[in-house]
Amino acid sequence: MADLAHDNRPGDDEGEEEEVDDASYKTIKDAVLFAIDVSPSMLQRPPPSDDKKADRDSPTSAALKCAYQLMQQRIISNPTDMMGILLFGTEKTHLADGDNTFPHCYLLSDLDVPSANDVKQLRSLVENEEEAAALLRPADEPTSIAAVLFCAIQIFTTKAPNFSSRRLFLVTDNDNPAKIKQDKDTAITRARDLYDLGCTIDLFPISRPGHGFDRSKFYDDLVYPSSPSDPDAPASLPSATKVAKSGDGISLLQQLISSINSKATPRRALFSLPFEIGPGLRIGVKGFIIIKRQEHVKSCYVWVGGEKVQIVASSTSHLADDTARVVEKTELRKAYKFGGDTITFTPEEFTQIRQCFGDPVIRIIGFKPISSLPIWANTGKATFIYPSESDYVGSTRVFSALQQKLINSKKMAVAWFIARRNAAPVITAIIPGEEKYDEDGEQIMPPGLWLIPLPFVDDIRQCPEQADNIKTTEELTDIMRKVIEQLQLPKGVYNPSKYPNPDLQWFYRILQAMALEEEVPEKADDKTIPKYKQIDKRTRGYLAQFGQEFDEEHKRQTRGKLKSSAAPPKKRAATSSAPIEDSKPSKRIKTEPQANGNGGGMTDEDMAALSDRGNISKQSVGALKEFLKARKQPVAGKKIELIERVQQYLESKGL
């Protein structure tokens, strides 16, 4: 749907074009309904054990903890998406609006964007054993899975109509819930209804001690290989969701969390494009965003005029500036500002201007060694691509051959890349990504290719010139190398999962505390703060040695220079703090950055000298203002106006 809307408005996203990739992720809405089995075996706790890692949770309570965690996580990562929790097999029956159509189905939290109350309620169930015991009492008779599925259909159609993604997360340890054929057939029919409605069943099977989980007995007839709402995505791995079992060293809870995390965000292709390996040789690929900065929600307006604080929705209408009449969106014209007036084009011309570089494509221009891709040339995040057979049969094998060749030869492709109609063409490097697994054999990095946008000459900035020709010595470098050797990250790898975003985590901890009216935590847990103690232990000796060597070398290199240098030696001493501090925290006095530091005290002569050398524009606005202020000149206006005023002042002084 999002795509449809897109195609119908060519040129409409002019200007916002760069944002589109992120925006399209927001427009798709996802609803997840957890269906958790409550049966005697699901409620059975593992035998007590001294092992700290051993399970303490029954499968049902592990699933609830998982749901609790996912709910909190989704408030952060998918703030507009819905989630609900349905228990089945409970003695009690409870559905929204007192509906009793589905016996032994208990709707713990209705499918909706979670509220603070939902989180609170779920948490008290997870943390309060008595409360949990009262609710989690299994019914005498088993619940029909067909009824659960039909219940899910009703919940999805009423609560999340027209969502692009609706998923039923089914957690159970019963691999054959239908004892007679008729029950099984009804369940199969209901599963098909669910599929036709555009919903997916994600099965999270749990095996019991002495009893495995055999999908082929029942669930393979209910679960469909591809997602109806996401035909773009490659078929999911049949074995992607492992059977979780207890007593394996790793707890059931952790296994469940790991399985569910991999499904936390619905996978959706960003684009589907022809990938031209050479003229006349095209295959199909789909693009996915795997790395994306997760931001916290923007602040919004809330209405405080009533008893309850409410979220405010705002809508914008356009008014013509000259007559203040309301303007329809179709009346708006796009125009460029130019020379104090506007330059405009017809909508057709706008389309032509943006689309004159041809159709969307990834077209390989040639290949280079991967060393031609320095990190300094990075301009943004990489996009993952994976083959698709839907437009070109044989895409996967060709893609695979290319990926393997690039890995083996340490090469990359360079390509001309237009992501969609109206998108700006970019030159991109295409590098191979190898498949990676963790200790448990779970995939942590998918195999495929990555598109890394390259800079144009227009995007590369010059480095400010370095005045001093001061270089390290072999001795200094060698000591520093030892420091580097001492402080290698574990396994020598940067692993993002070790570093949660401290700002994001703090924001949501506070927000959650405020929403739930709890105590606000005092201190943040910030994993990005260096391990100072360890650093000190490992590098103290080397740094002391470096310090001595450094002082001598610094003296040697600056000896002749100080006198010939343009800057007075006095100031130099003030700005150069000794990099090595050998004494106990004599708290360093913060040295003001140079431009500000000498701005206020600058004399007319200094400024005139700067002006004559053409360096006046290099002064900061602050420095200029300070200069003007000290001379009782107005300090309003843009930088250029300030400069003009300074120059006029200097002229008036005859400088």
């Binding site: 964007v113 029919t189 791995l237 405010v312 501090e581």
Partner: protein, 732 residues
């Protein structure tokens, strides 16, 4: 920031400039003006008040030096067309018709030059009589005909040199050995003048060139130099200097290294109603403006936005109430709960941080995944003039470089800004030594999607297969291997000395859209009524395809690869209806035929408690048109029911979903008229209030979702044209 500028263009407008020479289809003047307009519009586009321009014509019919020189004796046939000032679009429009060849060949370039010097002098001298800081420039464009009075030339050249005026002389068909042009059978007078001008240019340290060269360089986009602004000035530290004795602290500054240059953005305007014939015309203006020839002449009015704030009305679910701005305060959404944070508490959600660049640890470069960096890059350099910082940073840079490592650091650029994790990479080049930083993802920034392996195939039962149609065979691997090697670019280009060098370096590639838009805006400024747009300059599309000569060489490898790949395009037909007629419905993992299980029913009744699945199954079960119509009619009835029983908007979502499914399914069956007649009726009933109450909001939702008429473009069986479909959305 750019320096102030004063530029005067001296244009030869003599009769001879109206001639077409050397096989060109343009007159000399038209040709030369390509260059002039490009230069002028480029300056206008910067919008800088301090970039002044003026235009002087000579060999003109009239004489007018606007009092720039007291005694206009000897300045006949010289005319100041535009005095020095910031040129704006209307000035360009005024100037254009005035740049026409005159009826005379009388007039002297040196007179015009004297006028130009005087113009610059007046405009760039301060009140105290001192020359102000300006870039002064005079560009002469001439075809070299006409009489030149050279007696003053030495004095003029000396004056130019003294005032530091940059002098450029560009001539039509001037000889230029370096550029490789020589005009055959040159007019002796022109030859004489060319020599004089060349000599003159040399005397005032000016440039002398043939205009063909200047025009040929117009295509090369100009890149903008931006003054570097530091985003962090502070320390790079190893260890905690507050609590430990021995730590390393280096004063550093951080400047942008890469920064995407964005094309100018268009703003929204609305056609002035007072000009387009009263308010009544506004609704049709979309059609009239599209063909309007008078663009950008103050006919557009700016657009302001007005915001309306609403909350859900708790007393009447499904409706909204407008609220006043004064009852609003700042807050955040936690799920669907509003959390109010008063002004005084605003900082409570902010993590307290202080500016820093703290080293966390190091990673070997070969273990670093190149796809992780997620931002543009920055230079980290020692604090200016701080020798100690320079020495310390240099040793860190070299140590990283020699040990092949990158550093991981925590960066906070300003107080209470969110910390970032950055990778610090050493960069050492002949005249550059620095660290480059780039942002790395946090745990939350990685999406854990899983994809099947590419080098093996897993069956449903988990068995590993190494030979499969989705896996390359040895022949394909071999062909790919040879093709990739044959298409290597790393030594395909030739440098100035003819040595092999890398093709398509960063500095050779220009941002296509940026320069395309800049180019077309400038072009439009001087071609306001031209019906068609020029194609993008070739230099912008050079890297949109592999270089032909390399492809030629690699053609055997490409042919072999194509044969081994054996890729077949899926015919478009098969995606849609083909699937339906084959009854090839998606099967569950087990491959079970669910329809067979149900006994392949011929008719499925629409079940309003299971509306969408039963509708889809009803359509799948039959090919009979009547049955389809019955199903659609049932569906339509249910949709109307949803709407008419809806409390506020509560039923609209379900109705919308049902409409979408109906539209998709009916379109796929190629019976669009069934849907179209339904949606026409529905629209009428919604707008006329026939579905129990004011249901206009439902119509806006249908419109917004684009669930209107199915047009011919979407489904060839439709009789609805694109215009009709568009009109359906518009008309109320």
């Amino acid at each position: 920031m750019a320096q102030k500028e004063a530029t005067v263009y001296i244009l030869d407008l003599g009769r001879s400039m109206g001639e077409k020479r050397n096989g060109r289809s343009q007159t000399n003047l038209e040709w030369a003006l390509e260059y002039v307009w490009d230069k002028i519009t480029t300056t206008v586009a910067t919008g800088r008040k301090t970039a002044m321009m003026g235009v002087v014509g000579y060999r003109t019919d009239e004489t007018d030096v606007m009092g720039a020189i007291d005694d206009d004796d000897g300045y006949s046939n010289t005319r100041i067309i535009v005095p020095l000032k910031q040129l704006l679009l209307p000035d360009i429009r005024d100037l254009q018709p005035q740049l026409k060849p005159s009826a005379t060949n009388q007039g002297d370039v040196l007179s015009a030059l004297a006028v130009a010097i005087q113009m610059i002098d007046t405009a760039t001298t301060g009140k105290t009589g001192k020359p102000l800081k300006y870039d002064r420039r005079i560009n002469i464009i001439t075809d070299g005909y006409g009489h030149m009075e050279t007696s003053d030339s030495d004095a003029i050249a000396a004056k130019l040199k003294e005032d530091e005026v940059e002098m450029n002389i560009l001539g039509v068909d001037f000889d230029d050995a370096e550029f490789g042009f020589k005009e055959e059978d040159k007019d002796p007078e022109k030859e004489q003048n060319e020599t004089t001008l060349k000599d003159f240019a040399r005397k005032c340290n000016g440039n002398f060139a043939t205009i063909a060269e200047a025009i040929s360089q117009l295509e090369i986009p100009r890149t903008k130099n931006t003054h570097p602004v530091p985003s962090y000035k502070g320390t790079l530290t190893l260890g905690d200097s507050e609590n430990y004795d021995t730590t390393l602290t280096i004063d550093v500054e951080r400047y942008p290294c890469t920064m995407i240059a964005k094309p100018p953005t268009a703003s929204s305007f609305v056609v002035r109603t007072d000009l387009s014939g009263g308010a009544g015309a506004s609704t049709q203006s979309s059609a009239t403006v599209a063909g309007d020839e008078h663009r950008g002449d103050g006919q557009l009015a700016a657009v302001k936005s007005q915001r309306v704030y609403q909350i859900d009305n708790l007393d009447e679910p499904g409706t909204k109430t407008n609220v006043e701005m004064e009852d609003l305060e700042r807050g955040f959404e936690y799920g669907r709960t509003a959390v109010h944070i008063s002004e005084s508490d605003a900082n409570v959600v902010k993590l307290e941080t202080s500016p820093c660049l703290d080293l966390i640890g190091f990673v070997p470069e070969e273990k670093f995944e190149r796809y992780l960096p997620m931002s543009r890059t920055n230079y980290v350099v020692p604090q200016r003039t701080n020798t100690a910082a320079a020495l310390a940073l240099s040793s860190l840079i070299h140590a990283l470089y020699e040990s092949g490592c990158y550093a991981l650091a925590r960066l906070v650029t300003r107080e209470n800004k969110a910390p970032l994790l950055v990778l610090l990479v050493p960069r050492i080049e002949p005249d550059l030594e620095c660290l480059v930083d780039v942002e790395l993802p946090f745990a939350e920034d990685m999406r854990r999607y899983k994809f099947p392996p590419l080098d093996k195939h897993l069956t449903v039962s988990g068995k590993v297969i190494t030979e499969h149609r989705d896996l390359p065979n040895t022949q394909l691997m071999q062909a790919m291997n040879e093709y990739v090697d044959a298409m290597d670019l790393s030594s395909f280009d030739r440098d100035d000395e003819g040595e092999p060098t890398e093709y398509m370096k960063f500095e050779d590639t220009y941002s296509p859209l940026l320069h395309r838009i800049n180019h077309i805006i400038r072009w439009r400024a001087t071609h306001p009524t031209s019906p068609s747009l020029p194609a993008p300059p070739q230099i912008l599309t050079k890297y949109s395809a592999p270089p032909p000569s390399l492809l030629d060489r690699a053609s055997p490898q490409l042919a072999a690869l194509k044969a081994a790949a054996d890729v077949k395009k899926v015919p478009p037909k098969q995606q849609g209806r083909g699937k339906r007629t084959l009854r090839d419905r998606e099967k569950p993992l087990s491959g079970l035929d669910v329809d067979a299980l149900l006994g392949n029913p011929k008719r499925v009744k629409i079940d309003s408690t299971n509306l969408i699945p039963s509708f889809k199954q009803a359509l799948a079960a039959t090919d009979d048109l009547e049955a389809i119509q019955t199903a659609a009619a049932d569906m339509a009835r249910n949709i109307r029911e949803y709407i008419s029983t809806s409390v506020g908007e509560s039923g609209y979502g379900r109705a919308l979903e049902a409409i979408r499914v109906m539209r998709e399914e009916i379109t796929e069956l190629e019976e669009p008229e069934i849907y179209n007649s339904f949606v026409r009726d529905l629209k009428r009933d919604l707008l006329e209030g026939r579905l129990r109450g004011d249901r206009r909001e439902m119509w806006w939702k249908i419109r917004g979702s684009k669930y209107g008429l199915v047009e011919r473009k979407t489904c060839f069986a439709s009789e609805v044209s694109e215009e009709e479909a568009a009109e359906f959305y518009r008309s109320a």
